[in-house]
Symmetry: C2
Subunit: 584 residues, 2 copies
């Protein structure tokens, strides 16, 4: 027993008790006659007092313990003369009677403070030190609580957590798999799952009725910022359900998680068809903490001899309320923003509704003030407002306006981390066509069923078929997505055909699922939540990295353990593999 | 909404209610005027009644639904005239008013009954059908409950569940790693973790104080019966603890798990040094549901001109109480048992204590009856008992006697599945020497600390050094094992040296851990439980396979999804790999 108490729990009521604490030296102050050490552990910070007059030797010892030393201290709990109201233990201190150094510390490569001086790379390399910082400890504690509350809630709803295998089989559909060479079966590979999709569907066929799992998933993608090759899902599936049953169940889960962890009561979940989300917000995951919808101005703006508009298949704008005062420089910055390759607009037209009632715009020479006011009536712009207009092909310009809308939301501080605006986006298309190859791809995945009545469209007009799929979106973040699944062979075959799978490929890759449907498959559906992102959202943060104990960098490397790495020659041999350009 | 109720919840009190149920046809009986369907789901079975006189068409439809069809039935809850006391819903039945076939079923390849007619291989291939059987549904529900109760208990004790990465780095120490080729870093590999050992130690260095995780682990071993290439651990670690703190904490966990799932109150945990376990039970995981200890008879049995014993370094026996009546055939079978290669004895000497007070043995010509009685006094054999003696080298004969003891325990029905005899085996050696290579290996792992006072033995007499390690053993099964860890660089270096690691290797593989110890590492220790085995033990079963939803066979194959499998040519190319004997 190294301690009687932790560093976060002693209060005035403990005054007079003899205690032993252990922890890290957060800070020590030598005030001549007295030396104070702030002792830190996961639970808090307690002040330890050493008195030169009482025990000079002990005080000298205390002075030699540097930052991050691990020490054990015994002494008496004393009421402090000057209390620290910022610290839960701030009413007391420990009058030290003994001190043992359990582990010395060199000077850490960066300061272990809320705002550290360490750069990203250094902190990743010394992740075990970064993880000592309070914000990260809070992140991981929140993540723990979210996982536990998820499990308690789903258990109470009758769900069983069932583990599915990590060593499965590679399927070319979707993103790229990580594969694992088999030593026992030469030239054969396992694959790490991108999700337990098929296994959870098989569990429904097996009659488990309500399944969930908090499970790691793997995707060998070219990493973008804030993507991880391994990530965690809350994966769920239910039998004998329709869409409404799933939405109701998981709305309750989301409510429970936010109320039990951060005491937030979520407002009503809106429902929005995918088409509406794209039209109004240029995104399939609109941030509804603010409105600022996109207004289609295609017919309104044409016929004023402004070639750019006259030639554009789509013209639309947003009303940035209260931004009429934007300077030329501000507007240039916004123009630069929309012209960035990832936004992809060719330019931007701005229209200022000045406070004096006049209108000033970049297209004054084509439109008179009254004309413009009338054409832009839809935007409901008032004096003081700024209308921003993009034109071009419809889909990319919708997305660009969606991005511009978010940018204005940021500038206007309309995206508050402690506001929560949840919705379900529904009625996604079944398929999207790859512009380059002309191939259809499943928008969710090939196991998604069409909405009732759209079955026949799968063959005749697949692009018009809507999927019985849904995404949970909160604050512009897709928190989860799912669908009612196909549970009969014929529909599944039709979808595989639309996706250009040969019978042979379908059989080889998903034969066991098709076979399973032969033996009595219940109607079923489910959802999967991105758990890393859910944790970040709950904490009001953008980056998931602080919610993963040991994340990888954007190149998929773990800088701390230095992985991936070379393996031994015997390992290559045992796996019967060699590098492609090995000439031996 | 496909149902108003599940198939396990309706009772007499529901009589008169209009309900809709959905599930699988377990059985249907055509009694002429009436047809009955037993409708099954995860929650139970409910009888559905179709009356030819009331609705002939519906009744005909019911007669066409075969086993494992998925149907939806609406009707009224009726009190049954002849109640079925074996069924929780046996007081009622549903008077069917409508029937919809949601999914037809072909005849399953084996019967979905508690005792199925399906062979192992067939059931693995159609695992989704095997999983419909009641024993498997109960196994997975128990596993779910064990996991949830583990989490609730550890959360209440202040533990945080923290996820550690699955894509880590290969280390040659210990069993063989599964590796994952990196596409982005040519000729480099991740490895799948054999356990999160180092990460949990780093979390202690990071100050998380109490960590746990229910986590998948991977070992690429040549599979033996009931070994899986992927398995699940309850992995735990605590800071500022001594051995006693860990044992107390996890004894409580084990008690909680058994009482909350199967309402068993575990008796007191014994403590037994490794050396005693080997001496008395020939095993480091003794089954203490029965005693039958091994008695060392080496000095007692020598000096009677029986060459086999006179030349043996070790002679010892067990007293199989009440077995004096064993026939020649019984004894031959036991002799065959101990001579099996995996047991490894050359022969067996038996001594019968007949009920009439006489003694009959295989070595009558060397020992007189009274002489033998005296020499075997230790065994405390009484009339009616049978003493079984093996001789040879000490270690292998201890193990052989341990196996013989278990065999006799089985024969005498002393190993009851609903008895529980828990103990901690402690004071393991730090190292064991490989007989072939002469190399020392870590008995637990290289991060295990020596017991206090044995530090200096690490260099001088490493084989005598005892480890501060402990195994939780219940009913002859090692449920968990752990240790107090090394938390300083010097001791860690000494252990690496004893294990013949060069400084370079130690630095390359574990440099980040050694580095972490530079910055203030708390004393810490922990334990990991084999979760698959814990679930099997709790259910009183020997095989773990029924407690894993989708297990692999003994060749590491998943027969259902047919994995491992070949991958596409582009996947080889993207990974920049080729087969070792590829001549292109």
């Amino acid at each position: 027993m190294f301690r009687t108490n932790n560093c976060g729990e002693l209060r005035s009521r403990n005054t007079g008790e003899k205690v032993t604490l252990a922890g890290w030296v957060k800070r020590s102050r030598n005030l001549g006659g007295m030396t104070f050490i702030d002792l830190r552990d996961r639970y808090g910070v307690t002040q330890i007092a050493f008195n030169m007059e009482v025990n000079a030797e002990l005080c000298e010892k205390a002075r030699k313990t540097g930052r991050e030393f691990v020490i054990q201290v015994s002494g008496e709990v004393m009421e402090r003369s000057s209390k620290n109201k910022d610290l839960p233990t701030g009413d007391i201190e420990i009058k030290a009677e003994s001190l043992e150094i359990l582990s010395a510390s060199e000077t850490p490569p960066f300061t272990i403070e809320n705002d550290t001086d360490g750069g990203e790379e250094l902190r990743m390399k010394y992740r075990y030190l970064d993880l000592r910082r309070d914000p990260l400890q809070r992140s991981l504690a929140l993540r723990h609580k979210l996982a536990l509350e998820t499990r308690k809630f789903l258990d109470e709803q009758g769900f069983l957590e069932i583990e599915t295998p990590y060593l499965i089989k590679s399927t070319p559909e979707g993103a790229r798999d990580f594969v694992v060479p088999s030593r026992m079966h030469e030239n054969q590979f396992y694959a790490l799952p991108q999700s337990p999709q098929i296994f959870k569907q098989l569990l429904m066929v097996s009659g488990y009725d309500k399944y969930f799992q908090i499970v790691r998933c793997f995707r060998d993608e070219d990493l973008r910022a804030d993507r991880q090759p391994e990530f965690t899902q809350i994966d769920c599936e239910m039998s004998f359900v329709e869409r409404e049953d799933v939405l109701q169940t998981f709305e309750k889960l989301a409510r429970h998680l936010l109320s039990s962890t951060i005491e937030v009561e979520l407002p009503e979940f809106k429902r929005m068809p995918y088409a509406e989300a794209m039209e109004k917000y240029g995104s399939d995951k609109p941030d509804l903490r603010f409105n600022m919808p996109i207004h289609d101005l295609t017919s309104e703006m044409k016929g004023a001899d402004f070639k750019v508009f006259d030639n554009a298949p789509y013209i639309a704008g947003i009303n940035a309320s209260g931004c009429a005062g934007y300077s030329r420089k501000d507007l240039d910055k916004l123009t630069d923003f929309v012209k960035r390759p990832q936004i992809g607009a060719k330019g931007m037209v701005w229209v200022k509704y000045n406070e004096d009632g006049s209108i000033k715009s970049a297209i004054d020479k084509f439109y008179g003030q009254d004309d413009l006011r009338e054409r832009l009536a839809k935007t409901n712009a008032q004096p003081g407002d700024l209308v921003l207009i993009l034109s071009g092909d419809k889909k990319p310009m919708q997305k660009a306006l969606g991005e511009l809308r978010l940018e204005m939301g940021n500038r206007l501080n309309l995206r508050k981390p402690d506001d929560f605006a949840p919705l379900w986006v529904v009625d996604f298309p079944m398929f999207e066509r790859d512009d380059e190859t002309g191939q259809l791809h499943a928008m969710h995945h090939p196991f998604t069923s069409p909405v009732a009545g759209h079955e026949s469209l799968l063959r005749s007009e697949p692009e018009k078929a809507l999927a019985n799929a849904y995404d949970m979106v909160i604050n512009g973040v897709e928190i989860g997505g799912g669908s009612i699944r196909i549970h009969d062979r014929d529909t599944q075959k039709t979808v595989f055909e639309a996706l250009n799978f040969t019978d042979d490929e379908a059989q080889k890759q998903f034969g066991f699922l098709m076979d399973a449907f032969k033996y009595g498959a219940p109607p079923h559906g489910g959802i999967a939540f991105g758990f890393d992102r859910l944790a970040a959202l709950t904490a009001g943060k953008d980056s998931i990295r602080d919610f993963i104990a040991f994340p990888k960098n954007n190149a998929g490397r773990d800088l701390m353990i230095d992985s991936p790495a070379t393996i031994a020659h015997e390992q290559w041999n045992e796996l019967r593999l060699k590098p492609i350009d090995d000439e031996k």
